[in-house]
Amino acid sequence: MEANAQRVEGSQGVTPPAYREPGDARMNLSEDDLEAMIEIRDPEIDVEDIVPQVRARLRAQHRRARGIGLDCEALARGQVPSDRASPLDDDLEDNLERMRASYNRVVVDLSLTKSRVPIVGPLVQRIREPLHRLAMYYVNRSAGRQSRFNAYVVGAMANLIRSLGEENERLRQEISRLDARLTNLETNARGKRE
């Protein structure tokens, strides 16, 4: 995460947003971690006074999340909380979770190994890098289109699953009601025979 923070400080060479790891998921932040993260430049306000309050509230939030079955780590990482009974089996739910987490991670980064050719190595590197970047430019344009398509698919799946879940719940309640009515009818019929 520190490397990520350093990447975004400057105005150059920033990795496009959709393709970064969203946040550091380590849950137990120390007071030093928080002091390093929060900056208040007004000399009248001391960050050290705020940090214990932040830590206490974070702990309370983690307890609340556990109590209601929410995945606090997923939320802290900006992902979908697993807070409701899924109408799907575990394997399908896992695959959907992976899809949600990765639908927009299609862009390629520069991955150029250093040339070990003696003497002319730096020259070789200077030629290879722009060629790689040129290829990346066209690949990433296509990747962007793929990402748009993936987003449509993920959105459609999310809506479909939600609709299925609502329909399942409606049908479950209907079945429950019919069961109760059937039981009632059977009880009445038995009573009349007796």
């Binding site: 995460m1 520190e2 990520n4 923070a5 975004v8 400080e9 400057g10 105005s11 150059q12 060479g13 920033v14 990795t15 496009p16 947003p17 959709a18 969203p22 946040g23 550091d24 932040l29 928080l34 993260m37 929060i38 900056e39 208040i40 430049r41 007004d42 000399p43 009248e44 306000i45 705020i50 309050q53 932040v54 509230r57 974070l58 939030q61 609340r64 929410l70 606090c72 939320l75 802290a76 990482r77 900006g78 979908v80 909380p81 807070d83 949600r100 927009n104 862009v107 990433n140 344009r141 990747a143 962007g144 990402s147 748009r148 987003a151 449509y152 993920v154 959105g155 999310a158 939600r162």
Partner: protein
């Protein structure tokens, strides 16, 4: 002269205000642009109709790559670049390749003007960038902040309607800025996701700004909201001045997680409405904030949400932060900005 003279755009507003003041001081001043928004009362003229003269001073508002650059370079005028910063093209590569290419062109062509004896920058951040590219003398020309107009507009019927619609005891988290990848409204949504589910469910997120310039990004945000099954997020689109003021009046906390800003005028506008500002420390944002507000150096959504919680209620921290912001605003009062413009005009006259 500027590539696009738009309605409601910070650079366009700055150009219009400068034109107005120059005319007040007795100068003849016109705006020339490539794209002109006719919602403006005086939308300027097409830049190709401009006839240069060695007696003229031409202020070129530099915001992106444009055919205008080559046109300006051929003019006999005393040219002064006024740099408003250019979004790094990497943010736009996968959304709009043509737009990204024009941004890249803009960044590369900026150095073509570094031989000029004098230039202007909208912020200290922009100035430092110009000096690093080899510009010799760069003065800061601050942005005019229209706080009086905004505060007056909040009392309009539209402003009051919006403020009362949202004045229900809920925490209203606000960001103002066009929907753009560098402004990271997606990170704001992730933060709100955490805040709404684990901190305070009586909360809403209001993102004010047009999604028209990069519709693909707006679509991604809408998909994100579907995937997260997140309610109470309002993407308002473009709004009028009166409506904008209403949103400021309704806001509890202003949250900015931008990863590239040359200046970010809404930070100061929020301060003008006594809204505590919480922002990610990147590029021009810390320069604009000065010694006010709260900055975060890493994007931990739980920590940011917790800071929102501390700022949203009537706590000593909220009061202290608002006080620090009021002190910061005094550096941008109208009279001192006018004086700054006057100094820069005098300097330009010396060069002409």
């Amino acid at each position: 002269m500027l590539p696009a003279f738009l309605y409601g755009d910070a650079v366009s507003n700055q150009a219009a205000r400068i034109r107005h003041l120059l005319r007040d001081w007795g100068f003849r001043s016109r705006i020339y642009a490539e794209a002109r928004d006719h919602r403006r009362v005086n939308p300027g003229a097409d830049y190709r109709r401009y006839r240069g003269s060695p007696d003229n001073i031409l202020v070129y508002h530099y915001t992106t790559g444009s055919a205008m650059t080559e046109f300006v370079r051929q003019l006999p005028d005393t040219v002064v670049i006024y740099y408003h910063n250019i979004t790094p093209p990497e943010f736009l590569d996968t959304y709009n390749a043509a737009y990204a290419a024009s941004l890249e062109q803009g960044r590369q062509e900026l150095v073509l003007f570094r031989h000029l004896p004098f230039a202007l920058a909208g912020s200290q951040y922009n100035r430092q960038e110009m000096l690093s590219l080899g510009f010799k003398e760069v003065a800061i020309m601050p942005y005019f902040i229209y706080l009086d107009e905004l505060l007056a507009a909040a009392d309009s019927s539209a402003g009051q309607r919006i403020a009362s619609d949202y004045r229900d005891g809920w925490v209203n988290i606000l960001f103002v800025g066009r929907l753009a990848p560098n402004k990271r409204q997606d990170d704001i949504i992730r933060t709100f996701n955490y805040y709404h589910r684990l901190v305070d469910c009586r909360s809403r997120l209001i993102l004010v700004g047009s999604g028209d310039s990069i519709p693909e990004y707006r679509m991604e945000l809408e998909v994100m909201l579907d995937v997260l099954d997140l309610q109470h997020v309002h993407l308002t689109g473009e709004v009028s001045l009166e409506e904008l003021s209403g949103y400021y009046r309704a806001a509890t906390v202003f949250l900015c997680l931008s990863e590239h800003e040359g200046f970010c005028v809404p930070l100061l506008e929020a301060m003008g409405f006594d809204i505590p500002v919480l922002a990610f420390k990147a590029t021009g944002v810390p320069y604009t904030m000065g010694q006010s507000g709260v900055l975060v150096k890493r994007k931990r959504y739980d920590v940011i949400a917790t800071l929102i919680d501390l700022l949203a209620h009537d706590t000593p921290l909220r009061r202290d932060i608002i006080a620090s912001q009021n002190r910061r605003l005094s550096a941008f009062d109208h009279d001192s900005t006018v004086r700054s413009l006057h100094r820069q005009v005098e300097r330009m006259m010396q060069l002409a």
